[in-house]
Subunit: 521 residues, 2 copies
């Protein structure tokens, strides 16, 4: 193998997925964010080590003249034993080209580049992939059809939140958002790559994705500062154990990003995937409210899906979020449904139609603004999370309380003011105490209920019903411990004794209560 | 005109519709309940006077031998100016035959009987119909397609409750129910003619509709004591200003009333209509949960509708209540929809389909029993009444709190324990402050709202939304007074000033609030 121009290999071994990571982790900006580039051309085999699901990065010097973003093509094939994976590289400005790759198996990997630029062609190298470090469970994938796990098999429960434009605020505000997230229960965040222009969000972003002058975008190139900054934030989220559900297009725009020509859209997608797909906590959301982006056709969305699918060697989760016109989530490229609705009663039908995990990514937000999607009480937001879980699905939080400085969490991040997050944390603990990867709704029951691990755990949620007593039908032949759960007071009260078959329990006679039965060992 | 055998004419002039009648009215059993029958045969014209929408009753002696319930046919034609109305009579036992009629126009009325019994044939007489007394507004009818009024044009708002089997309890409990109703906000009550057998309702009724011996019904006759008692209760309700929504068939039965042969069903319907239809506060509900009565076919229900329609000269309101299979309420004989559902969001479609008033007669009950239809909180029951009204519809209350003696209001009556009735009273006052016959839902609004009297009053209900502020779009060119309404605290708080066009108001930031705008004179 020829080895030339290898100037940098970075293994982001320090990336630990710590679901309840301390805020102090934010201080250390590690990973690919600020690689120390070696500009000497060298041919020796690099001896670096990258942990499994970490980021391997190779950086090369190349031509800075012309328009490398358009003119230079760079890719590499990565090999491990008999597997070969193709990855696109990208131009990072100032004559530096990079290729990033997330190795998913320990052992020796090698790579060889291809490029239409002689200096970048046929470069090769090897590196060792070590075992994942503690807390690194790999990227999230679909498990068992309707749930998620990390690549190492650890169950993953998407308890998401929404901060569409948090990376487009001041650095101080971004740091505050990260600090808030570190203490919050959320394991996924919906966020836009492009800046957002919408009510309560009229400030200019500090950085633009394309060079911008006199209100005109140069769509033939990229502003690498924007993308370097953005991927720093992806890394920050990863250290907090939070999946970055990246929204690639959205309608709320005043700069022209929602209506770029096809070649610019496609180049943007390839660039984003080349830069971000080695980050194991990335999810792809083709759009927020795809049907509200009037400039794009179904053929456009098909092409975008194709590009993301083809270019992402890591096969991150893919979906598209709808406004009024529900997407056909049965389509092959979609890994899970990303819904805007609060019709939890339809989940049974949707599971039959799609047989994929369902995330109610927008079921309205806790807040008090005039818009009808932004003024749920904390009680109602909490209720909706319970309705999602008890139906075998997942939900995403958002918060829209009026703020004198227009810092609303759902758009800009900052601080949380609502009463639902701690209840969502409480529910997340209960949901994660499943036996297996999640919960399966029970069909045709009088009250909403779900099971986990077969009949190992039975969870009831009584919603608006305020029963004073109920006779539960438990599976024959087993004994269960029972607990009364108050989702609002966040209490779990054991009921005395063991319960079998027809188990009549006194209930609090208040609405929005839950009961859990756990099979006695 | 031949006049023979006229032995009794009763004008129930004392019947005053007093919507908030005092409980003391219950002491006076007036009307047809205990007529003093004159058994002398006479031919002179009776000079009695019946008030408009009161009850004219003629009683005749006739044969008591054989089976008069089946063998004797009796009817009369009533004439007023150029109108002729046919009314069936009925056998009331002990050789007494009666014909009842509700005159709907003041002035002189005459009648002539027809019978296959010589002694009952061709009897005739006249009577004067006087103006309705204070508080007597006549029977309720549909007004303007989607609302109701009394026959004199006074708007009527059905704020109903449910006491299915209250007339089949002890006299003491019935009197307690009437006392409770006198203080309650309800203007309509759903009640079964037949006794009911169901959970919390397993006691035997004091009276059976048919003679019963050794567990066998004699369906060829009627137990007149049962019907005399039942109509006393209809009269009691009328004095309280409450419409008796009489359920003619229901599935919850252990005596055989839900599965009688066709001839018995038909005879029962004719008998009930002949006895009860002169009571101006009667509504006909062919069934509770018609689709749960498996013994009856669609053809049966068609025939029952035909009989009730043909036999009822007063044309009382008619409907049929469904369980799981919604009835086609567009059918000609149906005057209004009587729904079992809580899907208030479908009212717009249903109004288009049916163009009739919609009553959510069963949208679940306030209570705490295990059954999922019987454990709403008072808050949720109140909310459902608001959702009905703001959608231009009506709702019916029920209450099912566990009771050591199984006296649950929804079935047996007794006392109310819940928190919704006083909030329903509060809403009823607001609804009745309409300009016109009711409220019309506003289409395509961000929040649920309704108008009354064109744009004279605008009513908003924010349901689970907890807005801190909102900009209302008021009709151009008019000024409005604004009020904040708290449906739970039952407060109406005027907002200072007059409001025009885009009126931004501060709102409480709590869910389940309402706002009313009243056009300034």
């Amino acid at each position: 193998m020829n080895r030339r121009d290898v100037i940098k290999l970075t293994g982001a071994a320090a990336w630990g997925l710590v679901p309840s990571a301390a805020a102090s982790a934010l201080q250390a900006h590690e990973g690919t964010a600020a690689p120390a580039e070696r500009h000497s051309r060298t041919v020796e085999q690099h001896s670096g080590t990258v942990e499994r699901w970490g980021i391997f990065e190779a950086a090369f010097n190349g031509p800075a003249s012309g328009n490398p973003f358009v003119d230079a093509q760079l890719s590499a094939h990565f090999r491990h034993q008999n597997r070969v994976l193709r990855v696109s590289g990208f131009y990072d400005g100032r004559g530096v080209y990079r290729i990033r790759f997330m190795p998913d198996q320990p052992g020796e990997w090698s790579y060889t580049t291809e490029s239409n630029v002689g200096a970048l062609n046929n470069l090769s190298g090897t590196f060792q992939c070590s075992a994942a470090s503690q807390g690194n469970h790999g990227p999230v994938e679909v498990n068992g059809g309707r749930h998620f796990s990390y690549a190492d098999g650890t169950p993953f429960f998407p308890f998401g939140t929404t901060c569409y434009a948090w990376v487009h605020q001041t650095e101080a505000l971004q740091q505050q958002t990260l600090k808030t997230l570190a203490a919050a229960p959320f394991t996924k965040i919906r966020m836009c790559v492009f800046p957002k222009s919408y009510e309560y969000n009229q400030n200019e972003p500090p950085l633009y994705p394309f060079p911008r002058k006199d209100g005109q975008n140069d769509l033939s190139t990229f502003n690498v500062d924007f993308f370097q900054h953005f991927e720093r934030r992806i890394g920050d989220l990863n250290r907090l154990g939070i999946q970055a559900d990246l929204i690639l297009f959205h309608p709320y725009d005043r700069w022209g990003y929602a209506s770029m020509p096809a070649d610019a859209n496609d180049r943007y997608l390839r660039y984003v995937v080349a830069r971000f797909s080695a980050y194991r906590n990335v999810w792809w959301s083709l759009a927020n409210e795809y049907d509200f982006i009037k400039s794009k056709t179904s053929a456009d969305w098909d092409r975008f899906a194709r590009i993301v699918q083809d270019e992402d060697a890591a096969h991150h989760l893919r979906s598209i979020h709808h406004g009024r016109v529900m997407y056909d989530y049965s389509r092959q490229w979609v890994t899970h449904a990303s819904l805007q609705t609060d019709d939890f009663s339809k989940t049974k039908q949707w599971f039959m139609d799609w047989n994929k995990p369902i995330i109610f990514d927008e079921c309205k937000y806790e807040g008090n603004i005039p818009s009808r999607w932004g003024n749920l009480s904390g009680e109602e937001m909490t209720r909706r999370f319970w309705l999602a879980v008890i139906n075998g699905c997942y939900a995403t939080h958002g918060e829209t309380y009026l703020d004198p400085n227009d810092v609303l969490w759902w758009s800009k991040g900052g601080e949380l003011h609502g009463t639902s997050p701690e209840r969502i944390a409480f529910l997340r603990r209960i949901a994660e105490q499943s036996k297996g990867f999640g919960w399966t709704a029970v069909d045709n029951a009088s009250y909403l209920s779900a099971t986990s691990g077969g009949d190992a755990i039975l969870l009831y949620y009584f919603d608006y019903h305020q029963l004073a007593e109920y006779e539960f039908k438990l599976p024959e032949g087993s004994s269960y411990k029972a607990e009364l759960i108050d989702p609002w007071k966040m209490t779990i009260t054991p009921v005395e004794g063991l319960h079998q078959a027809k188990a009549k329990l006194k209930l609090p006679g208040r609405p929005y209560q839950a009961v859990r039965f756990v099979k006695a060992e």
